[in-house]
């Protein structure tokens, strides 16, 4: 218990002092997960909408696989990306192993299924309700997808935020493909893992508190944007 109170005060001290190392690590975490979530969302939202509207044999199987992939073990994704990006692997010549780009790729792969699966569910529910109107207007499949995605945008932000939460909290994949290199690929989560292995549990926990604070702040900001947008568009 003493350690927990110790790390809480340490966390407050870290945040208020704006420690430059902490700022750069936190900034890198935000940058990596932000770009990963952006890339994943740009692909996963249209894919989820397509899957919601499409009818083809084996569709239920695809949905089950997609839903199952929401639980992809980060370590496995990390290993796969490592094998692809390793010098001995097919994408080796790019030379991006142990760089932030490698971590973005791993995180984007990890959260694509989450955003796609949640989007599929949301769009399919909406499709059930608006189908008649959209069909009566002779809307094409693509038009339907776009209309539903746009109309469900506020609900879909939750799916995107879920992906972001998973990305920024994940340690297994980025540890493998990033290498936790000081000043280059050290993120909040890998720094926490490192301090834990050094036995500095109060500092590790304090970093965890900082990370949680960051994620909550971002969610609050997203909520504020959402409610303002609802008000304005409403």
């Amino acid at each position: 218990m003493q350690e927990i109170s110790q790390s809480l005060s340490l966390a407050v001290a870290l945040i208020t002092s704006l420690d430059s190392t902490l700022l750069s690590i936190a900034g890198l975490s935000l940058r990596v997960s932000g770009i990963a979530v952006l890339a994943a969302a740009l692909l996963a939202l249209p894919f989820g909408a397509w899957l919601a509207l499409a009818r083809f044999p084996g569709r239920q199987g695809v949905i089950a696989v997609l839903n199952g992939m929401m639980g992809l073990p980060p370590v496995v994704v990390g290993l796969l990306v490592y094998l692809m990006l390793s010098r001995a692997g097919p994408l080796g010549p790019l030379g991006i192993l142990f760089t932030p780009a490698a971590m973005m790729i791993a995180q984007a792969l990890l959260i694509f299924p989450i955003i796609a699966a949640l989007a599929r569910q949301v769009i399919e529910d909406a499709w059930g309700e608006y189908r008649e109107q959209l069909v009566s207007l002779n809307a094409s499949r693509a038009q339907c997808m776009r209309a539903l995605l746009w109309d469900m945008r506020f609900t879909l932000t939750t799916a995107v935020l879920a992906g972001f939460g998973r990305a920024i909290a994940e340690v297994g994949a980025v540890m493998i493909v990033g290498g936790n290199i000081d000043g280059v690929t050290r993120l909040m989560t890998t720094a926490i893992a490192l301090e834990t292995s050094k036995g500095d549990l109060p500092l590790a926990l304090a970093l965890g508190v900082v990370l949680i604070t960051m994620v909550i702040t971002i969610n609050l900001a997203a909520q504020w944007v959402k409610s303002t947008a609802v008000k304005n568009h409403g």
């Binding site: 142990f98 608006y130 109309d151 292995s197």
Partner: protein, 308 residues
């Protein structure tokens, strides 16, 4: 249930009209999104430490090394000195010795800096590494509960292990094929004990790094085999203290080598050799000797001593 929190869209028709009108805005938005994405990518590639540094002609090498050298803080002490002198940034990927060499075999590092001499010589023999040199030694120690139920304390590692096994006192092992794990197994063998027989009862393998293993030992109040550097910089000691040290058998050799450029053409041979030359130079060796925790020297440079 038509309304999902959007106040206006009371009817599907309204939604559709709304959506069609907004499609214009959406395409405008997506253009904005694409622009943002491109902008962020460019920013990312241009910024220091970003993805782009992989393509830029920046001066850095990747060194595959062990958790002990990183966790003990040695790299934090010597690498800034090397960078100040040569301008070369050293990016350390710290893993167990076995993992570090597996990484180097694939060509994902320029230099290997580990501590399992037998495995290193094999690595060189198989043609994966070149120019191997001894760099320094540190020593292993055995830590355990303050009360020392096995009465193991002293300076004889073999006798201590025998007592721990005889008393079936809880012992936590790395179990991860690291250099430290390999060394621990050698001492068990020398003591003529098969710790695997005690698996599940008094002998526990964590399958993780030195730090996590010490955390486990601390929580279980068990004995553990560790290197002095990690122990000295380890903060979560709980009821543990240093019990066995000073046996000459416990010395542990670190070696450095270049990943064979003949196998992996992209290896930064010139900069890698600069690092190897520096760390074995009088200046580099002095920097290693100068690193202390709580007034204790952790690593003893020994390249000069064994130079032919």
């Amino acid at each position: 249930m038509v309304n999902r929190g959007q106040p206006v869209d009371k009817k599907g028709v309204v939604i559709w009209d709304n959506a069609r009108n907004l499609l214009v805005a959406l395409t405008g938005k997506s253009r904005f999104l694409v622009a943002t994405l491109v902008g962020m990518t460019v920013l990312n590639i241009a910024s220091p430490g970003g993805a782009g540094t992989a393509f830029a002609q920046e001066k850095f090498i990747v060194v595959a090394s062990t958790t002990s050298t990183q966790d003990s803080g040695l790299f934090g002490h010597i690498l800034p000195l090397f960078k100040a002198k040569t301008g070369i940034e050293v990016r350390v990927v710290a893993q167990g010795t076995g993992q570090a060499m597996a990484l180097a075999k694939k060509g994902d590092a320029d230099v290997v800096f580990v501590h399992d001499k037998a495995a290193e010589l094999k690595f060189v023999e198989e043609g994966f590494g070149v120019y191997r040199r001894d760099v320094m030694v540190n020593d292993f120690v055995i830590v355990g509960p303050n009360s020392d139920p096995a009465k193991s304390s002293g300076n004889d590692v073999i006798a201590a292990l025998k007592k721990i096994a005889a008393g079936k006192s809880p012992f936590v092992s790395r179990g991860d094929k690291s250099g430290t794990h390999a060394a621990e197994l050698r001492y068990w063998k020398a003591a003529d004990i098969d710790p695997q027989a005690g698996k599940g009862t008094w002998y526990r393998e964590t399958g993780s790094g030195m730090g996590p293993t010490l955390n486990t030992a601390s929580a279980m109040n068990a004995y553990a085999f560790t290197d002095r550097g990690t122990w000295l910089s380890f903060k979560n000691r709980g009821e543990l203290s240093l019990l066995v040290e000073g046996d000459t058998k416990l010395f542990n050799q670190y070696g450095v080598m270049l990943v064979n450029p003949a196998k992996h053409a992209h290896v930064k041979k010139h900069m890698g050799m600069q690092f190897i030359d520096w760390i074995t130079s009088p200046e580099g060796q002095a920097a290693i000797a100068a690193y202390k925790i709580e007034g204790q020297q952790l690593y003893f440079p020994n390249f000069v001593a064994q130079r032919r």
